[in-house]
């Protein structure tokens, strides 16, 4: 177990392509960090740089107070879980787990003890003699986890480990990974593009975009106070409504607009903070046309077009909401729940 310190880390590919740049991150011992971002944002590259599978072209990486830039993956004392598991197909589950230990020169007895313990913990002990081919997707996933756990490394690196599972199994494994990490208290770095995984798993979230860190913070901080327009749009489902001044700064909202922080020309409104009834506190009101009502069980969504320029706008509503598709309604968002941004800088203005 160890802390990980990332200072000015960058990856430049030949041709001056900057996949990752200027990453600074202090990961405490035992912390669970989730790297999240859209495809191509550099999250996997960053993880692979920590793992030692990609060379580091800029900056410094330390694991447990030791600079590891030049070390091979095996020398960094990390374990990695791959998206497609990368189990050795010709080895039994037992050998898959034991291989890393064997290469490190553990005694047969130590290996056996560790493999048995890990297998028991992950409930894969009945399959130790099977080959990966004879396992289901979920079981393979566990074996992949086991191969990382058995080594008791300083840090776990997980690269979208759940993306090959079906929805139900994914939820189940997500919970298990969380519990496991809590119990073992091993520093973990987890890459995902799935918001739900990001929000539920991480002690802290690192939102990446175009190779840079957009925001670092606890999932709830990031959700409730996105620092940039990108984070605001990326985190949350359905995603935040982004409305430009040209749409909201009309005569209905004259008073409220004056109260917005200086430099605000875009506002973000979470679909669940929009209401039908005019609030007593200062608020923005939106004139809109109902496009579609979409009941989805636990929550229902109302898709609106803001007038006059027909910008799409989503609102979370009760299942029994009586609205006529095609009708015109007014909806309101209190100033206190708005996220004011400046479009040019992309940053929050309050």
């Amino acid at each position: 177990m160890a802390a990980i310190k990332i200072e000015g880390l960058g990856k430049v590919y030949p041709g001056d392509i900057r996949a990752v740049q200027d990453i600074n991150l202090d990961i405490a011992d035992g912390e669970f960090i989730v790297l999240v971002g859209p495809s191509g944002c550099g999250k996997s590259t960053l993880l692979r740089m920590v793992a030692g599978l990609e060379t580091i072209t800029e900056g410094e990486l330390s694991i447990g107070n030791k600079v590891v830039n030049q070390l091979e993956p095996a020398e960094r004392d990390i374990a990695m879980v791959f998206q497609n598991y990368a189990l050795y197909p010709h080895m039994t589950v037992y050998k898959n787990l034991a291989y890393g230990l064997k290469n490190r020169g553990f005694s047969q007895q130590d290996i056996d003890e560790r493999v048995q313990n890990t297998a028991k913990m992950l409930e894969i002990n009945p399959f130790l003699d099977r080959k990966p081919r004879a396992l289901s997707g979920g079981q393979r996933q566990r074996v992949a986890m086991g191969r990382a756990l058995v080594r008791e490394p300083a840090a776990f690196l997980l690269d979208e480990p759940l993306s090959n599972l079906d929805a139900k199994l994914r939820v189940q494994m997500r919970v298990e990974i969380k519990q496991l990490q809590r119990r073992l208290k091993t520093t973990s770095l987890y890459v995902t593009h799935d918001q739900l995984e990001a929000m539920t798993l991480g002690d802290r979230l690192v939102v990446l975009n175009q190779g840079r860190i957009e925001q670092v913070g606890s999932p709830m901080d990031v959700y409730h106070r996105p620092e940039t327009l990108f984070v605001a749009e990326f985190i949350g489902s359905p995603s935040m409504n982004i409305v430009r001044a040209s749409t909201f700064a009309n005569k209905d909202n004259q008073e409220a607009v004056k109260q917005l922080p200086e430099g605000t020309d875009v506002i973000g409104v979470r679909p669940d903070t929009v209401v039908f009834e005019k609030p007593a506190e200062p608020h923005l009101s939106f004139d809109c046309e109902v496009k579609l009502f979409e009941p989805a069980g636990a929550e229902s969504h109302l898709y609106l077009h803001l007038l006059p320029d027909r910008q799409a706008f989503t609102m979370r509503v009760e299942e029994n909401t009586a609205v006529a598709e095609g009708g015109k309604i007014m909806v309101y968002a209190p100033l206190s729940v708005l996220h004011p941004f400046n479009e040019a800088s992309g940053r929050r203005t309050d």
Partner: protein, 282 residues
């Protein structure tokens, strides 16, 4: 699949049976001929029923050969052929596995260039380069030796190419997982790549063994000492050697025995082969 047509079926089967007969008949004749005395064969009519001399003929062929004409006993030639074929097969597999490994997994200068150089040699079979190769082997003093018989035939672009194609289908993550697990290049090769390629190795083993076993021109050129005669060229020596009529019964016994080892290799490797096919999965 195909509609059921009685006459079509009969026609198809007749053709197939004819085809089989065409292929099998010479082999049958060879086996029958090897069970008669030499004289029976010379009388002009080819016997179609087994004779009584089988044991005698095979014993003579195995232990004496046509010693009067300077050919060694078949047993020695069989052994020579086996050694040469095994050396070629194992050498080819080892070299092509290693070179494919280098080409796929290492970044060295002129990597692509070297790959193409190897690939181009595919177009140069032994027969094309036989004169210069002979010169080189002669200058190195490898005439009349097992090294001379096998080494010039070991380099194999085909096998290198096949292994390269296979290695490229092995997921990148496998290598990365092995690196994280502390396996260096050689361990990765030995513990992961080789077991994964076992099917390909088995298939190539069969092909290469038969290739090595059937070498005719090369052994004929570089061996003058009967001690190094191989069976395939030995048959030819048996036919032409000496002044007397060819001893057909012995020649046929030799032919039958020469055909056996490749068949055995196929039978033996096929089991491994099928096992590999059903058990391996990437």
């Amino acid at each position: 699949m195909v509609e059921n047509n009685r006459w079509g079926n009969i026609l198809a089967h007749t053709l197939l049976i004819l085809g089989v007969a065409l292929v099998v008949f010479p082999i049958y004749v060879a086996i029958i001929a090897s069970t008669h005395t030499g004289g029976t064969f010379m009388r002009g009519t080819i016997p179609l029923l087994p004779g009584t001399e089988a044991i005698n003929n095979y014993r003579t062929a195995l232990l004496q050969g046509r010693s009067s004409a300077g050919t060694p006993p078949i047993s020695l030639m069989l052994w020579n052929s086996f050694v040469m074929a095994m050396a070629i097969t194992i050498g080819k597999l080892a070299i092509s596995l290693l070179s494919a490994f280098a080409i796929v997994y290492f970044r060295f200068p002129f990597r692509i260039f070297f790959f193409w150089v190897i690939f181009v040699t595919l177009m140069l079979p032994v027969e094309v380069r036989i004169v210069p190769t002979f010169q080189v082997v002669a200058d190195l003093g490898m005439l009349n030796s097992f090294a001379g018989l096998s080494i010039p035939l070991i380099a194999s672009a085909t096998a290198t190419f096949l292994f390269r194609q296979f290695f490229m289908t092995v997921p990148e993550e496998m290598l990365e997982a092995a690196r994280v697990d502390g396996a260096g290049p050689f361990k990765f090769f030995k513990d992961i790549l080789m077991p994964l390629s076992i099917t390909n190795i088995a298939a190539l083993f069969v092909i290469m063994f038969i290739y090595g076993w059937n070498q005719y021109l090369w052994p004929l050129l570089i061996t003058t000492d009967p001690k190094y005669y191989t069976i395939v060229m030995g048959i030819q020596r048996m036919l032409t050697g000496g002044d007397s009529e060819p001893l057909w019964h012995l020649v046929m016994a030799t032919v039958v025995m020469a055909a056996l080892p490749p068949i055995l290799v196929i039978l033996f490797m096929q089991r491994l082969f099928v096992k590999g096919l059903t058990e391996t999965e990437k």
